[in-house]
């Protein structure tokens, strides 16, 4: 029941509403009870309401309001990108994006692959069943 992910300087968060939807940002300062100053290598540092953020498990070590260069260096050092993309949450988002971008032919190929995979599994199951009854 206790909280595990805290709003603190260096907390990585995911933007879940607005123009920067889907971006990973670093909380760089807290403005007041509702807003934080966030920054990311590909955006201008700006304020955002906490309601538009979802906190992640990742935290980096930075001072309050670092320079852009220091921020980028700290993100590289902590290897945030790889940590995110190997986490199950990050992987799910990547899969969702891939599925949304599939074109009609790709969806057809996926269907064929699923049928093939199911066929192989069913074959194996049948073999195993035969072995146990034999």
């Amino acid at each position: 029941m206790p909280f595990k992910r805290y709003v603190e300087i260096g907390r990585i968060a995911l933007v879940n509403y607005g123009k920067d939807y889907g971006k990973l940002v670093v909380i760089v300062d807290v403005i007041d009870q509702n807003r934080a100053l966030v920054d990311s290598p590909d955006m201008v540092r700006s304020q955002i309401n906490f309601k538009r953020l979802t906190l992640t498990d990742i935290k980096i070590d930075i001072n309050r309001v670092p320079k852009k260069k220091t921020l980028v260096a700290a993100l590289e050092a902590a290897d945030v990108k790889n940590k995110w993309e190997s986490s199950s949450w990050g992987r799910k988002l990547i899969v969702q994006k891939k599925r949304a971008s599939l074109n009609d032919f790709d969806r057809f190929k996926v269907m064929l692959a699923k049928i093939k995979k199911a066929g192989v599994i069913r074959q194996e199951l049948a073999n195993l069943k035969k072995q146990t009854t034999a």
Binding site: A100, D104, F105, K109
Partner: protein, 233 residues
């Protein structure tokens, strides 16, 4: 003298805002070099003699004046053009037909005819769609393209697909129409051969891409959870 390719001339008097040029009349006179033209011509602007207008033939008075004023229809200079083709439809694109006998079929686009309709083929061996015309509005263009370079579509146009006009036969005594009707419904062998030759080249290039043949053979349908406005075609 053959005209040389010149760079398009930049405007001599750019607009400050609409209706107001940057330079005044006197400045423009100088910029255009009218002073030099006048100087070359001895102080006056060069004129040319007016061409003697050919004497107009005396009009004969009309024989008939209509009682009420006859209204002339307004002039219409519009030209008929084939419908603008969507940028996503290029020769070789796989299209999904949405209406008619072949709804849901995935089909290869060949070219746009002068009437604006799209010339399309199944290929016939793969999905049963023959060489056919289809309206652009009843089609979804996918981003899949087939290789169509080996195919010659020059001979197909709207006349090829038009209904054949039969000569009126005089009613012979005792002859009924039934004997004639049986001949009309079969497709002429020539069209079947056209289909075969066109498809032969197309099918070899389709088989080169894995799964494309079975893709074209399958119909498209919306399944549960598919939102057309979110799908990428």
């Amino acid at each position: 003298m053959a005209p040389k390719d010149r760079k398009p001339h930049v405007c001599r008097n750019p607009d400050l805002i609409r209706g107001v040029g940057k330079y005044s009349r006197s400045k423009m006179y100088h910029k255009r070099g009218l002073w030099a033209i006048k100087a070359k011509n001895g102080g006056a602007f060069p004129k040319h003699e007016k061409k003697a207008a050919a004497a107009a033939l005396p009009e004969k008075p009309p024989k008939f004046y209509p009682a009420d004023d006859v209204k002339k229809p307004l002039v219409n200079k519009r030209k008929a053009r084939p419908t603008k083709l969507r940028a996503s439809i290029t020769p070789g694109t796989v299209l999904i037909i949405l209406a008619g006998r072949f709804k849901g079929k995935r089909v290869v686009f060949l070219k746009q005819l002068t009437s604006g309709l799209l010339l399309v083929t199944g290929p016939f061996k793969i999905n049963g769609v023959p060489l056919r015309r289809v309206n652009q509005s009843y089609v979804i263009a996918t981003s899949t393209k087939a290789d169509i370079t080996a195919v010659n579509v020059e001979k197909f146009d709207d006349k090829y697909f038009g209904k054949k006009v039969e000569k009126k036969k005089k009613k012979g005594e005792g002859e009924f129409f039934e004997a004639e009707k049986e001949e009309k419904n079969t497709l002429p062998q020539e069209k079947k051969d056209d289909q075969k030759t066109l498809d032969a080249a197309l099918i070899t290039s389709i088989e080169a891409v894995p799964d494309l043949k079975s893709y074209l053979g399958a119909r498209f349908s919306l399944k549960a959870g598919m939102k057309p406005h979110e799908l990428v075609f």
